[in-house]
Amino acid sequence: MTSSPGGIGARTLPLLRHPVLRRLAQAFFVAFLLMVFAFLLIRLIPGDPAMILLGDEATEEDVIAYRKLLGIDGSIPSQFGRYVSNLVRGDFGVSIRSREPVLSIVGKRLPVSLWLTVTTIVMTIGLALPLGVAAALYRRTWFGHAFQIGASVLVATPVFFSGLLLILLFAVQVNLAPIAGYHAGFPANLYYLWLPALTINFVLVPVLARILQSSIVETSAEEFVEAAIIRGTQGWRFYWRYLLRPSLAPTIAALGYFAATVVSYAVIIEIIFNLPGLGMTLVDAVRNRDYPLVQGIVFLSGLLVVGLTFMADLVNGWLDPRAQIR
């Protein structure tokens, strides 16, 4: 996700030579373009959206009122101007179905999705780190081969199938999880979240463990690792400082990169496990042709990914000083 070193930014504005500030400027530029895409999205509707929603028998006033509601009255530039200034003020429009502001709907449903994401990522780290390290250390044994085959199989299995299989296994056969549903409140909600999180990790963990494995293998060929071995560095200090820490950067970058995938799969997972999060809201909104709500959620999900990628970049700079020099 990096731009060519020394794009126009670094030349014209000296401030942008600082890597963090340059990344931040890039992130804002991308966020602006997300806004443009989200604005264009509603223009993909073939025909007049107001007429589609109201049907043929709509009165003139109704159509005008709906156009106003959808932000499609007036010229395109003035529509865009209004759209941007509304977004900046935190006004994402109003749901057509419930007439509730999009932002307040999102606010209500967001906690479930966030809990799912956090549970997933904690689980990802807990599973991918040991697996990746083990796969690197034992890559020439049966474990390494089994890992390769297992990873290929798991990555290719669609979440909506593995999710159903896990429900069959853990909720129907053994009673370790509910079949579906959700209850808010911290420790209790984990009972409802662990299986959905595990399902997403069926795809995520193999990918990340594989990346970690190959970067550990690469790191172990570096001279500073050899030097550390010669100096007699041993135990945790050796594994963390010389093997794991310099190898983590690509994995963290990938985690930032796959943030979009996690958010993506979470939509399907929320439907399978009946979790009342943003994904379910989005699918309902698509079914109801609730255009403003769809538009708002699409934009916010993009914004979320840009934010997460930016954070992954920062963590990377801290973990691997070599990345900062560039």
């Binding site: 890039q26 373009l33 669609p158 958010v263 769809v294």
Partner: protein
């Protein structure tokens, strides 16, 4: 780079000797991939053709477990699940190929175009555009477009085409940046060929091989998107046999008749696994890390 990807090149008619030579170049992973895909293709053509049962027609009592008469059992409407699973294979694979083929051409063209300009401002804007488009979580963007265009096969394909080209453009741009100063490009310029001709005839073919390698992993993703959206009821809709839609129907009988999801899910996964094995095998051959 492209030493061993015969099975993804538009092969036309290969002679048997050549096929055997290609087969020898493959490693274990890619061979398994080819075998799995060939099996699924053969079954998806032959089963609906040879079976007396129609994928839409009622044949017997609903929800019968697998038996000699109905190898995969019958579904909730008393239809032959075996025929439906392989009729679905045809549709899913055809849709996924359609889904991949348009973005690869558009993306490669746009990316090559972007890679051969030397304008810094255009480059910066370009980076932002591609980063922005790929920042949207894939399924959410597809859902967003489907919401606008329409929740059917047409809408699904349009959504895939709009949302998937950016990765190809990214690959093509990186590759053509390296190619734009290559000797054969300079030679073409000296010969006075037009920019468009150099782009389409000289640079794009060299970029295409890498795009094809990516297309294999994109195929997996697209078949999952097609199944996923149909699972949500926003793509292919019943009664059309489609793996994701069948999983959504069968899900209601998870407790008592699990085979309703096991068979379509298994063959959907198997298809994706076959492509994944092929892709990984070819990648390793091209990297030269073969056994």
């Amino acid at each position: 780079m492209t030493a061993g990807n015969p099975s993804i090149s538009p092969a036309g008619r290969l002679r048997r000797v050549e096929l055997r030579r290609y087969w020898r170049q493959l490693n274990a992973e890619s061979r398994w991939g080819v075998v799995i895909l060939a099996l699924i293709l053969v079954l998806s053509v032959s089963v609906p053709l040879l079976s007396p049962n129609d994928p839409y027609g009622f044949v017997d009592q609903p929800l019968q477990p697998p038996s000699a008469a109905f190898l995969f059992g019958t579904d909730h409407l008393g239809r032959d699940l075996l025929v439906r699973v392989f009729a679905a294979a045809r549709l899913d694979i055809a849709l996924a190929i359609l889904g991949v083929s348009v973005p690869i051409v558009i993306g490669t063209f746009i990316g090559t175009l972007a890679g051969t300009t030397r304008n810094r401002i255009a480059e910066t804007i370009w980076d932002g555009l591609v980063n922005a488009l790929t920042a949207f979580p894939e399924i959410i963007l597809v859902l967003g477009i489907v919401a606008m265009v329409g929740a059917d096969i047409r809408g699904l394909l349009i959504a895939i085409w709009i949302s998937r080209w950016a990765q190809y453009a990214r690959i093509a741009r990186a590759k053509s940046l390296a190619l734009r100063d290559a000797e054969f490009v300079q030679a073409a310029q000296v010969l006075g060929y037009s920019q468009l001709r150099i782009l389409v005839r000289h640079i794009m073919p060299n970029v295409f091989s890498e795009a094809l390698a990516y297309a294999l992993s994109d195929f997996i993703f697209i078949i999952v998107i097609i199944g996923g959206l149909s699972f949500l009821g926003l793509g292919v809709t019943p009664p059309t046999p489609e793996w994701g839609a069948m999983l959504a129907e069968g899900r209601l009988y998870l407790r008592t008749e699990p085979w309703l999801i096991l068979f379509p899910g298994f063959f959907l996964s198997l298809t994706a696994i076959g492509v994944a094995l092929l892709a990984r095998g070819l990648e390793r051959i091209s990297k030269g890390e073969d056994e």
